[in-house]
Symmetry: C2
Subunit: 416 residues, 2 copies
């Protein structure tokens, strides 16, 4: 029993609820719930010394700060404590004082979403569910399918027709029941909602399930710890549904409330030009309007973001900024990240890097500021778009003279 | 300067050489060299206490046991200290007392080969090289390209025509110069050899480069540490070139020499039926003969293994066993691993699981024995074969009644 988990507060009508089984949206108004903690109680045990030499090198080192009761984490896939790299080459190329890259592609199923799914599986077990379900463009689904398989739970996953084949195959290997919905993300979401209500499955849909943000926030905790409790001026991340952005903000918020940091970094929220309802909402200072999902960055192609309130206020509260990038920027950034740092990111993840570059060009981020780049997903997940980012490799006969000529043409060896 | 690195001994003619720049094969007979250490010197500092609370959670915690001099590891991609999972579901399904799974797919570029490439990059820097080259079916190449990009070195990679597109794209994203050779692995290898000799590039070809095994051995160190210095009865791994197997043996050998363990686990060496020259060599007690490369497990499809001596003797010395599995076994094992443990492995990695299953059936491994399964590569690397392992997902209209009927047909929900 986590005594610091006080309860839920509705982000719309502000009603407060004490901890209870399977509470999702606000029973009173349908608003999204936010988990609240007793920070004074947490302060009694959680300080910087608490983290020094903490033996658990995974997100579960933060268990006292997460709204779960059951200590079922011992037999789970290891999520979190991913590397935070200090950039060398990329920083110089961008003309930036300091850049850190958080490689979330090294989580068990290859994305930051593993953090949320780990919590979903724990909460499903707490609620004595045998089946967990969600709709997802891919990463939420595969992370759920992986963690649920390990935990012996069944998963039913709804994906839109356009979900990349690599992501769909991955979750089928994990044994998930996959329902490919002949429509877009909204169609997949609506069908999953109906099924979850009808069959009583545990709901892992982001935004609706208030505990998922509590998993995602651990990436912010780690960034703080890995930076020696001195976070960078900016933290950049790409945004689809808005839940990851909200989670990152929550992580910084918690640590500030616990006096572990003295300020919250400014959040650079990056959307794809082809699907930027939150960017537009921030610009127009109006609620987001449903938009087309016309971008190759499928993980952030969400025409109707489910978490606009938390996402928009995260940027406002942190004095951050919204920015958009094109598909071309995203593919260029994919090569740039690979070539300079040896990290392979999926389009939604390299969108963030493209956004950092653009923010520098536009003077939003200054060259003498410091930035943490949250690299949200592994490039191996989306080979089709990786192929678009690179040239076709040359095919040569096994003949040395042909090779020599080719390398000289390319300038790889001197033509003497 | 690593004083414990005594030198090289030829595995064929036994000639000994002191440490020197860029030494590859034996200058006297062309045989493969083995690195030798001064174990008495190492014993002065390396004991179980040395590892307790060692702050470095990567393969570089073992730096005193590796044949490198330059401490350039600070700015490298984090390789190693991958999770070792105690199996729950899979162990029961196999009918095995205890099974541990070492998930090497969570290394930076997604495979165990990252361990070897990290060492290659350090040695290339020691030798003041600007270009590193290798021929590879994929994982050696992408791991090299990633680590070299981070280190600011250039890579030229030779791949056989059949290399999976996902793997090729990955290394092009890392900025490697990729030469796709219109032929098989041997053709790619021969062309790379000629180019390396001609242009003076650093050679990362496994078997030829004696330091790569020293990187790979760290996976055995980690397994021992993660099992509390009590290794399992068996350690299973699939075999292509033979270098990974040789590396694992070397790791156990080192720790035994240092009195950190009292016995070396028996090695289960798994090859694919479609390309099993080492299995055949062991069976016939003769040197391996060139064979076809007819298996979907491309990472172990090596018709002319370059490291037969070390590989064959590793199995003999450990009182291990060779076994082969079919492509069908490999795909079944891919689903099995995913469904039971939430781990997605590439074919060469799930071949090992298939081999464990077959070894149990044949009584080679007994149900009351304990096994460590070295899961060598991430399934995301090879979406084409993952697609073969799973059924096509159903495509449904966004209509609840259609869904309900489908789920009842499948038995996912009761048909009442």
């Amino acid at each position: 029993m986590n005594k610091a988990f006080k309860g839920y507060r509705c982000t719309v009508c502000q009603t407060f609820y004490t901890p209870q089984r399977d509470l999702m949206a606000c029973p009173s108004c349908g608003g999204i719930l936010e988990i609240e903690y007793d920070y004074d109680l947490l302060k009694e045990t959680i300080d910087i010394d608490y983290f020094k030499n903490h033996p658990d090198r995974s997100m579960f080192r933060y268990l006292p700060l997460i709204s779960v009761h059951e200590p079922v984490h011992k037999n789970m896939l290891k999520v979190g404590w991913t590397p935070l790299y200090r950039s060398i080459n990329l920083k110089d190329q961008l003309g930036l004082k300091e850049l850190h890259i958080k490689d979330e592609g090294l989580n068990p199923s290859g994305s930051l979403k593993d953090r949320a799914s780990a919590i979903a599986v724990i909460k499903a077990k707490e609620g004595k569910h045998d089946v967990i379900s969600c709709s997802s463009t891919g990463n939420a689904a595969s992370s759920l399918a992986a963690q649920a398989a390990r935990a012996g739970l069944k998963t039913v996953i709804f994906v839109p027709k356009r979900a990349p084949v690599g992501k769909v195959n991955q979750l089928m290997v994990y044994g998930a029941r996959v329902i490919r919905v002949d429509g877009d993300y909204k169609d997949a979401y609506d069908l999953s909602k109906r099924a979850i209500e009808t069959y009583g499955w545990y709901n892992r849909n982001a935004a609706i399930n208030p505990h998922l943000v509590e998993g995602k926030k651990t990436v912010a905790y780690e960034i703080i710890e890995q930076l020696g409790f001195h976070p960078t001026d900016w933290v950049a991340v790409s945004v689809g549904d808005g839940c990851t952005l909200a989670g990152i903000y929550k992580g910084f918020y918690d640590f500030k409330k616990l006096n572990l940091i003295d300020r919250i970094p400014r959040l650079l929220a990056v959307q794809s030009e082809g699907c930027a309802p939150l960017y537009e909402a921030a610009r127009l200072q109006k609620p987001p309007r449903p938009t087309e999902e016309d971008t190759l960055a499928d993980s952030i192609a969400v025409g109707i973001p489910r978490n606009p309130i938390k996402a928009l206020s995260a940027v406002i509260e942190s004095k951050g900024q919204w920015i958009t990038v094109t598909d071309e920027d995203i593919l260029k950034a994919m090569r740039r990240l690979g070539e300079t740092e040896g990290i392979f990111g999926e389009p939604a993840a390299t969108a963030t890097l493209a956004g950092i570059g653009k923010a520098l060009e536009q003077g939003i981020i200054k060259p003498d500021e410091t930035v943490t780049y949250v690299m949200t997903g592994n490039g191996l997940k989306d080979p089709k778009n990786a192929a678009k980012a690179v040239d076709e490799p040359v095919l040569l006969k096994p003949n040395f003279n042909e090779l020599d000529k080719y390398l000289k043409d390319k300038g790889d060896i001197p033509d003497v």
